[in-house]
Amino acid sequence: MPWSRIKPDTNEPEFLSQDMHGSATRGLAASEPDFQRGGPTGRRISYGEATNEALSQALSLDPRVFVMGQGVDDPSGMFGATKNLHLTYGRERVFDTPLAETALSGIAVGAALGGMRPVYFHNRPDFLLLAMDQLVNHAAKWHYMFGGAASVPLVFWACVGRGWGSAAQHSQALQGLFMHVPGLKLVMPSTCYDAKGLMLAAIADNNPVLIIDHRMNFKQRGIVPEEPYTVPLGKGVIRRNGRDVTVVAVSHLVTEAFLAAQELAGEGIEAEIIDPRTLRPLDEELILSSVARTGRLVVCDTGWKTGGVTAEIAALVAEKGFGSLRAPIARVANPDLPTPAGYTLEQAYYIGKDDIRRAIVNTVRGQEA
């Protein structure tokens, strides 16, 4: 599909420095050359290249790591994420699979129990539903159910599709379903730097980790250090400081929220943008301390509204941060509908910068604004 026409390739916005420990240290001035922002060895590379580099380094550093999935050795290599890895590491360690997602998910669990560290690429979250039994009934339970006797170090990866009539079965953002499951770590990167660091952290983790990426992220270019590094799971990051309202956004909506906040800065509203990076474990402390400063919360997610990520984060703040709230919590999420195929319907369906902007203004100025 002509992705270049759905979203052009863009450089990531000038976020706050993407410090490894998730604290809000300021980046170098915008006037500094690009390469300095990601540290001395950072280069500007694409999101796919960043993910690919993480996999490549994991494969070269740890002989237990292997990459599997339908199409990982395709010419396009999973939007670039797995491209050409089989040439470097061989088809024993980077291999195409039959479509059989249900059994192969169990096979990945078994391989993890047998001493390997599988990374299973599923292309779209929609196909993860075939993996649900092994992921939820088995992988997520194994360590607990056997009193810690065994562990399942595996990574599942899937990328949310969007646009060009992807329609109801090729565009689902199912993080809400997976966030519900204890024993499963859930990662949603939004920058090239994090795509690499979170992948390396997920592979190093001794638990089942699900990374849900987004097709829109793959249109980004950002500063990424060349050496291997990890971004800790469970640590969010402040992408922009602001005093008036806390905006928690995930995945590609971090950029949308950031752009909305930049616009609103000109109108006297300063929004703080928080990127949780992992939804499970969730960096509750970061969100609650921000809301304690701003007194307001807008939550944005690429998934559905009911029973999903925005519901969970709103509930967290209502439960533990109620005292700081000065306005009702606002949620920006996809409507509770299957994704329609037609582009006019897609346009009405998807949320973005303008929806976030509206929610911020309403939250800060009251509904009449």
């Binding site: 026409r5 396009s76 075939l130 329609a167 079965q169 037609g342 369906y349």
Partner: protein, 323 residues
């Protein structure tokens, strides 16, 4: 097989129509008016055509992401299909489904899933419903070799055998699942070609021969109607174009150009047309007339699609639940 000349011409015409529709979609795809991922059926026309020729209007079909041929061969309206590809309100799914989600209830096509293997149990369930209602309708499931990787296939066939369901499983082995060849995903022939032959009618045939497909499908369908249970037909064919989109969107380097060329030489439409001409079942005039008619029908369908209204934001919340 003794088919009348008319029956042969009908097979040929159905294949030609599917081919010309696919070619037109392909040639116009880069205009970006059809904002939907298209999976073209070029090279596989004999399968949908031959199988559907063995069916009654009230028999059911279940298909997959590559469904244009099945939809048309079963009697689907071309205008409604093209309007769906143009994302219009007049489309068979009113613009909510797109190319991968065609539906045609009037001809027993209850909707198409793009989850590979997803349609196989559903088609099996339709067979169960026909059996429970003591109807002599048959349910046909079209799926690719990729779907035969999935557990749903084996689980469904086991259940169909257990219950002797009136289901015909038609596997279109076109050599590829996206960029993965069948022989890197399957270890030799499908297990259902062996071992279960006392319970299952199974056949592996040339899927580019429409008469052979029809003949084999007829046997399977008659068996199903008599209450003798399911069948499994593997049709060997080839996906001449890329997995999705038009020719220029097919990535390079994953398959041998000579392989594509060899299968192009075995084009089912050209081969069958040549055969009918040689048999005098078809003449140059009938051929020219069919081409003209089909071309006019396609023009009209594209014009209809382009002129049709687009759904609007006000339509977004319709149809989540049935009234």
């Amino acid at each position: 097989m003794s088919l009348t000349f008319e029956a042969k011409r009908n097979l040929w015409r159905s294949m030609l129509r599917i081919r010309r529709v696919q070619e037109r979609i392909e040639s116009e795809y880069l205009k970006d008016e059809m904002k939907t991922p298209v999976h073209l059926y070029i090279g596989q026309e004999a399968i949908a055509t031959g199988v559907c020729a063995a069916l009654r209007a009230d028999d059911a079909i279940n298909s997959n992401h590559r469904s244009h041929g099945h939809y048309l061969a079963k009697g689907g309206d071309l205008k409604a299909m093209m309007a769906e590809l143009f994302c219009r309100s007049t489309g068979c799914s009113k613009g909510y489904g797109g190319s991968m989600h065609l539906v045609d209830v009037a001809h027993g096509n209850m909707g198409t899933s793009a989850i590979v293997g997803g349609g196989i149990p559903i088609g099996t369930g339709q067979g169960l419903a026909f059996q429970m209602q003591k109807l002599d309708r048959v349910s046909v499931v079209f799926f690719g070799d990729g779907a035969a990787d999935e557990g749903t296939f084996y689980e469904s066939l086991n259940f169909a055998l257990l219950k002797k369901l009136p289901v015909v499983y038609v596997m279109e082995n076109n050599g590829w699942a996206v960029c993965s060849p069948t022989n890197t995903r399957h270890c030799g022939d499908n297990v259902f070609h062996k071992g279960a032959t006392d319970r299952l009618f199974s056949a592996k045939i040339d899927g580019n021969d429409p008469e052979l497909v029809l003949e084999t499908a007829q046997k399977a369908v008659e068996r199903a109607r008599r209450g003798e249970g399911p069948s499994f037909i593997e049709c060997v064919t080839y996906r001449i174009l890329g997995h999705a989109g038009c020719v220029s969107q097919d990535p390079k380097g994953y398959r041998d150009l000579a392989e594509i060329e060899a299968w192009r030489m075995r084009c089912p439409v050209c081969a069958y047309q040549a055969k009918l001409l040689a048999e005098c079942a078809l003449d140059a005039q009938a051929l020219a007339e069919a081409e003209t008619e089909i071309s006019a029908e396609i023009d009209a369908a594209f014009a209809f699609a382009r002129q049709s209204p687009l759904p609007t934001a006000a339509d977004l919340h319709h149809n989540l639940f049935c009234e």
